[in-house]
Each structure stands twice: as structure tokens, then as C-alpha cells.
């Protein structure tokens, strides 16, 4: 029971009843004493007078005891009569608060409490209806998204597999010129696949905003693995991908390794993609008391000041990038920013046109309890779309 006993209904009734009974008692006692002094005290003997007084005192004391007992009893009955239905309502309200809407309270009384009960039942019915409708809408949305993803990807995977089987030479050798053409078609197809993936991501469906799994992780081994994965991409582009001297020892943070690998991976991908052959991309980190700062520095084409402002918005691609004719969806950094902010982190960029670009990703080492990253449930996420 949350409330203190002296605030309970029982004690309120008890004190009220005691007060109500004691006041007439006190008045009667006052009159008795007054009468005694005025009329009786000097007419009877000392012995009789003291006996009378004693009798009166005992009488009043017994009456007082009787009042206490009656008051206790009456207060108990009245408060029980009121507080029982109230307790039922309190329990029901608490269960609703906990999310259980399958509640109907049975109050048959016709008084004010009965009316309250009726309204309560009506309200629960309405809330339940709204909630059911929401659930259906969420379900529809989530099905729609799944179906859209599936329908978009099916033809893309047909093309991908056909290209690959042709390129693998499974259905006969193909001349170099045709191979080149198929490779180009496949590259375009890949960018389409990536676009679908990124769109789902940007909507937060597949990897984005919901379902984060935060765990203790070591950022040093994480960065080493990530660079290992990107090595091939860098080699193909003839860009040197290296780890800075800060990437050593251990550095623990609380984070979702998969999402961070996508976020920081996107940044490394970009750095490699926009650095001309012979350039360098360096991934480094710095441990500060409250945060770990990961940096990705390239010797690429750089980003102009006006482009820097819109860098992290959806579908934005820099002016200098667009005429490089590289593949890109304009979603990579948008996703990266979302992932980093879900980690209570910050992403910033320094760049000099033609000199290169450095991205800084600040990841707090500890999260204050109220800002502790929590996984959003799929339901609550879909509702927000």
C-alpha cells in the first residue's frame, strides 16, 4: 500500500466520528461541572461530593471508551464500503497502466462510485479500441514495407544471379567485350540493390533506428576488423588504407557493433571512393576521459564549405562528387549520422578543398542512465513512420 496509514479513509472517518462524539460529551461535562459548582457542591457533604465527582469521572471515561469502540467500528464499516470499490478501481487503473486492457470492473452500485465505475469501463473500452486500431495499422505498415522490399529485391536478385552465372562461365565462356558489358550491367544492378538497402535503412527498417543491440565492445579490435574488411575496396582503387598509431591497446564503449560498422564503414567507403589513386586513407582514434574519438582522414577531393552544411542530409551528394560519376545513393552519411546520434555521439567534418577531408566521430564511453541507448521496439518504431 503506497499511502500512509494516517492518510487512509479509515483514520479520517475515525477521527471525525470521535470528534463528533467527544464534542457533545465535553459540552455535557462542562454543564455538569458548572451545575455541580453552582448547585451541588455546597449542599451535600464533602464525602458525597467527592463520590459524585468520582462517579461522574468514571461515567465519562466509560462513555469515552464506548465512543472509541463504536467509532472504530463505524469508521471501519464506512471506509470499507467506500475504499473497497476504490481499491478495485485503483488495481484496474494500475493494470491498464501496465498495458493490460482486458479489464472490466464489476460495480453494481447505483451511487457516485457506481457511475465512476461505468465511466471507467467505457473509457477502457475506448482505449482498447484505439489500441487495436493502432496495432492493425502498424501491422499493415510493417507488412507493406516487407512486401515492398521483397518485390523490389526479387527482380534485382534475378539480374544479379544471371550476371554472376554468366561471369562465372557456368553457361559457356564469354568474350572479353561481352564480359565487360555484363560487368557494367552488374555494377549498375549492384547500385540499385544498394539503393533499396539504403532506402530501407533510411526508413530505419532493416538496420537503422530500431532494434539496436547495445553491448560492451572494444573499439580497437572493432576498427582493426573494419579496416580489414575495407582492404579489398582500397586495393582496387589503389588507395592506401592504414590504421593510425592511436589504434592500439583497448578502448571499451557501449555500442551496437553491427550498426557502428555500417556507420563508420560508410565513412571509410566514402573516403576511399573520393580519394584519387595513390592517395591515403587513415583511420585513427583518440581516447579522452569521457569519449573515444575515431577519425577517418583522406587525401581526397575535399568538401566545400557550402556542401559541408548539407552533408548529412538525405539524398545529398556533393557538387564535386556528382561529376566524378561515381556510384552513390546520397544516403550513406545520413545513415551514419543517425547511427552515431543513437549512440549519443557526434559526427563532424573538417575539410580543405583539394587537400582532403577528415571525419571525426565522437562516441561517449559511458552513457548517463537517462540517456542510455535503448532499443526501440519494432511496433513503436513502425508507428512513427
Amino acid at each position: 500500500m503506497k499511502f500512509k496509514i494516517r492518510y487512509s479513509l479509515f483514520f479520517r472517518f475515525f477521527w471525525t466520528l470521535v470528534a463528533l462524539s467527544v464534542v457533545p460529551m465535553a459540552i455535557s461535562a462542562f454543564f455538569f461541572v458548572a451545575t455541580y459548582h453552582a448547585r451541588i457542591a455546597d449542599r451535600v457533604s464533602q464525602a458525597v461530593a467527592s463520590e459524585l465527582l468520582q462517579n461522574a469521572a468514571i461515567q465519562f471515561f466509560l462513555i469515552f471508551l464506548f465512543v472509541l469502540i463504536i467509532a472504530t467500528f463505524a469508521a471501519y464499516l464506512i471506509s470499507r464500503n467506500i475504499s473497497r470499490p476504490l481499491r478495485t478501481l485503483t488495481d484496474a487503473a494500475r493494470r491498464i497502466g501496465e498495458g493490460d486492457l482486458n479489464i472490466k470492473i464489476h460495480i453494481t452500485r447505483k451511487d457516485e462510485i457506481g457511475t465512476l465505475g461505468e465511466f471507467f469501463n467505457e473509457m477502457v473500452g475506448n482505449v482498447k479500441e484505439v489500441q487495436e486500431r493502432q496495432a492493425v495499422i502498424s501491422q499493415l505498415k510493417s507488412e507493406f514495407i516487407s512486401i515492398a522490399a521483397h518485390q523490389l529485391r526479387t527482380p534485382l536478385s534475378v539480374m544479379k544471379w544471371s550476371h554472376q552465372i554468366l561471369l562465372d562461365g557456368d553457361v559457356g565462356e564469354i568474350p572479353p567485350k561481352q564480359r565487360e558489358m555484363i560487368e557494367k550491367a552488374d555494377l549498375a544492378n549492384e547500385s540499385m540493390i544498394k539503393l533499396v538497402h539504403n532506402l530501407l535503412d533510411a526508413a530505419g527498417i532493416e538496420e537503422g533506428k530500431f532494434g539496436f543491440k547495445f553491448e560492451e565492445m572494444d573499439i580497437v579490435s572493432f576498427l582493426k576488423n573494419l579496416c580489414e574488411q575495407k582492404k579489398l575496396l582500397a586495393e582496387n582503387k589503389q588507395v592506401v588504407l592504414k590504421l593510425g598509431s592511436g589504434v592500439s591497446g583497448t578502448g571499451n564503449i557501449t555500442g551496437d557493433a553491427e550498426r557502428l560498422s555500417m556507420a563508420i564503414g560508410n565513412i571509410i567507403d566514402n573516403a576511399i571512393r573520393y580519394t584519387p589513386s595513390g592517395g591515403t586513407v587513415e583511420v585513427d582514434m583518440k581516447i579522452e576521459p569521457s569519449a573515444i574519438i575515431v577519425s577517418v582522414a583522406d587525401t581526397g577531393i575535399g568538401i566545400s564549405a557550402e556542401d559541408r552544411e548539407r552533408l548529412f542530409t538525405k539524398f545529398f551528394r556533393g557538387a564535386s562528387v556528382r561529376h566524378l560519376e561515381t556510384l552513390g545513393t546520397g544516403l550513406g552519411l545520413f545513415i551514419a549520422k543517425n547511427v552515431i546520434s543513437s549512440h549519443n555521439g557526434m559526427i563532424s567534418v573538417e575539410s580543405e578543398k583539394g587537400q582532403g577531408t577528415t571525419f571525426f566521430i565522437r562516441l561517449p564511453r559511458e552513457h548517463p542512465p537517462e540517456k542510455m541507448p535503448v532499443a526501440k521496439s519494432f511496433e513503436s518504431f513502425v508507428r512513427g513512420i
Binding site: 526479387t154 536478385s157 544471379w161 552465372i165 562465372d168 540493390i193 532493416e206 519494432f378
Partner: protein
């Protein structure tokens, strides 16, 4: 690189003799043909099923060594089929690789918790990568015990 890795597995000698049976449950005819073609070329014996019920029947009749399962299927969906497979003592031990174009974490978690060994998004893997995964799963399920 992936192929070198594959040939070092003990599975390689069995493959030469076409001893490994794979059941492919996939409703898209062309995708099924592409995958089955690739698997045959790699030396697997394959059985095909166009929907879940047919796949379930085929698996019970002649338990394969591995099942490739699509999720979006006419009739019962892949999750139901996966559950049925895992509840059937004859085939519950057969490793299942889910190969679908669904890919939300919810779907992935659901398939893995129902007992799938791997979840591959079709559009994200080439036939060769799928074959490599099959080899790894077979090796882990049959040869590393």
C-alpha cells in the same frame, strides 16, 4: 579465394560423387533454375520444390543433407515450414539455410530462433557466395562433431 577454402573441407570428396543431396524450396522458377544449375555444377544432387508443402513432403520422404528455404512462398510461408521441419524428428537435424529477399532484423531473428543455420538475403549474395555458405554449413553440421 573462397573456392580454395571450399576444397580443403572434407566435403570435397563427397561432392565428387554426387552424394550430397540438397532440397531447394523456392517459388520463383528462374531463380530456382539458376541456383539448382549452380549447385549441380558444384556436384550436389538436388531436389526442387515450388512451395512449402511440396518441400515438406519431399524432405520427409527422402531427408536431404541440407535445405535451402525461401520465406515468401505460396500457401504456408517459410517460417511455418521451418517450424514444421524442426518439429519433425526425421528431419529436425537437417541444417536449413534461409534464402529470402526479406531481410529485416525481425525476420532474421525469427528465422534463426526457429533453427535456421544461416539467413542469406538473395540480392546481397552471388550464387558463388551461396555455394560457399552451403559448404561451410555442411562442414559445420556433419564434419566438425
Amino acid at each position: 579465394m573462397a573456392q580454395d577454402e571450399g576444397s580443403s573441407l572434407p566435403i570435397a570428396s563427397m561432392l565428387k560423387h554426387g552424394e550430397i543431396k540438397i532440397l531447394v524450396i523456392e517459388d520463383d522458377k528462374f531463380l530456382r533454375e539458376l541456383l539448382v544449375g549452380k549447385l549441380k555444377k558444384e556436384g550436389y544432387a538436388t531436389t526442387e520444390a515450388v512451395d512449402g508443402e511440396e518441400g515438406l513432403g519431399a524432405a520427409k520422404k527422402d531427408p536431404p543433407h541440407l535445405i535451402m528455404l525461401d520465406l515468401v512462398l505460396p500457401g504456408a510461408d517459410g517460417f511455418e515450414i521451418l517450424q514444421d521441419l524442426k518439429n519433425n524428428p526425421n528431419v529436425s537435424k537437417v541444417p536449413v539455410i534461409v534464402l529470402s529477399n526479406l531481410g529485416s532484423r525481425e525476420d532474421i531473428d525469427r528465422a534463426l530462433s526457429l533453427g535456421a543455420k544461416e539467413f542469406l538475403v538473395k540480392a546481397h549474395h552471388t550464387p558463388q557466395e551461396i555455394v560457399d555458405t552451403i559448404k561451410k554449413v555442411l562442414d559445420a553440421s556433419y564434419f566438425q562433431k
